[in-house]
């Protein structure tokens, strides 16, 4: 069963392979994603993030979800030495580097709680692959080639894993190195595989912002693997990428 919705201005799709009718579960999962958008959107004037930026709220008067994401983001900012940043500019909060991953991971957890075991949830390119695509079969997750939306630079075979990609080909130079405030330019695309999409999403952004040292930095500190393409076209990896590469079809 396939479901498609647009959340945060992004097409999000859900493919459930468990037998039975899962409309209710899918609806709940998408509701969580919309809820996150309502809290964290920098574009909605009524979101907690917008109100915080206008000084109508303080961190203490935001909700529990905001505090949870803020605390997670602050931890990544500290570990990365400020490469991952919670502020787009001094005094202006921006949690876009973590919200999509966090919200999608949360929606995936809700699906599991509701008894859905085999599904893939794709939030505009950030993917949670739960269970398998069929009996004994992993989910084959393509990593889009920066050169073309129709080509894959690699295909990963994942079960109960997540992968997030940060790249310039869709949104331009939108990732900033928090240490300098400048746009990161070293990579065309960075993909991170981890058990949790929140971690994968933040690390993809952080590695992208950090530059060529990023992949190894991430793999040394977190249980993750990295596949990245530099702006000049060269490809690099870190961690146990080999473990996730899909075998050739028979």
């Amino acid at each position: 069963m396939r479901f498609l919705d647009t959340v945060m201005g992004i097409p999000m799709s859900l493919d459930i392979r468990d037998a039975g009718d899962h409309h209710a579960a899918a609806k709940e999962a998408f509701a969580l994603l919309h809820e996150a958008d309502a809290i964290f959107s920098p574009y909605l004037p009524g979101s907690q993030l917008s109100r915080l930026n206008r000084g109508e709220l303080t961190l203490e008067t935001t909700g529990p979800a905001f505090l949870e994401v803020h605390e997670l983001a602050a931890r990544f900012a500290a570990v990365s030495g400020g490469v991952f940043s919670l502020q787009a500019a001094p005094g202006r909060w921006d949690l876009n580097g973590i919200v999509k991953g966090w919200a999608t991971q949360r929606a995936a957890q809700r699906l599991r709680v509701l008894g859905v075991a085999n599904f893939v949830l794709n939030a505009g390119g950030d993917v949670v692959a739960a269970g398998g695509s069929g009996p004994g079969t992993a989910w084959n997750v393509g990593i889009r080639s920066p050169e073309s939306p129709q080509r894959m630079m690699a295909v990963l075979a994942l079960r109960d894993m997540a992968v997030a990609t940060s790249a310039t080909y869709e949104r331009g130079l939108h990732i900033v190195d928090g240490r300098t405030g400048r746009s990161a330019r070293a990579f065309a695309s960075v993909s991170v595989v981890a058990a949790d999409l929140t971690v994968a999403d933040v690390l993809a952004t952080t590695v992208f912002a950090m530059g060529p040292d990023g992949p190894r930095w991430a793999a040394e500190r977190y249980d993750c693997s990295v596949l990245a393409q530099l702006a000049d076209g060269t490809v690099t990896d870190a961690g146990e990428l080999r473990r996730w590469l899909a075998p050739a079809p028979r």
């Binding site: 647009t6 201005g9 799709s13």
Partner: protein, 167 residues
């Protein structure tokens, strides 16, 4: 003046070549009965890809096979087997694998796809043995696609939008 400079360069090159040849020959004769060859899989024959991969990121590339081979020390002799060319969607890949007994001690990339410079670039940084697996993985059927967050136009052009239209 120019003449003197030229002579100096020629002398330097001559010394360099003689040294290189001597050292190279020693390595070559040492291959027969030591694991040295395994620690220098990229230094021997093919500078094209394997050598190019070495300086950058690929210190890990030799690691899986190197230390094990060194550990086996004076074990069985090293032999090198050249594999058949394997075709991939982007061209042929051919490697030569060195064995000490049944253990792989080194891999030399003899041939990688050169149709389109994207694939050559892959060959330069990703360790050669991983390269083949990356290229092979591209032919697997795709259930979903990870990519930089799409705009709605990007989505419409993407493989993901086609997947989402499947029944």
């Amino acid at each position: 003046m120019n003449g003197r400079k030229w002579k100096g360069t020629a002398l330097f090159l001559a010394i360099f070549i003689v040294l290189g040849a001597t050292f190279g020959l020693r390595l070559y004769s040492a291959q027969e009965h030591s694991a040295l060859a395994s620690s220098l899989p990229t230094a021997t024959a093919k500078p094209t890809t394997a050598g190019g991969a070495a300086p950058g990121t690929s210190t890990q590339s030799a690691a899986p096979s190197g230390p094990r081979a060194a550990g086996s020390g004076t074990g069985p002799s090293v032999r090198t087997i050249t594999g058949d060319p394997e075709s991939t969607p982007y061209g042929n890949v051919q490697v030569a694998v060195s064995f000490a007994g049944r253990k792989i001690t080194g891999v030399n990339v003899l041939q990688v796809p050169d149709a389109g410079n994207y694939d050559q670039q892959v060959a330069q940084v990703v360790p050669p043995t991983l390269l083949q697996e990356v290229l092979t993985s591209q032919s697997a059927k795709v259930d979903t696609v990870s990519g930089g967050t799409y705009t709605s136009t990007g989505y419409l052009q993407s493989v993901q939008s086609a997947i989402d239209k499947l029944p």
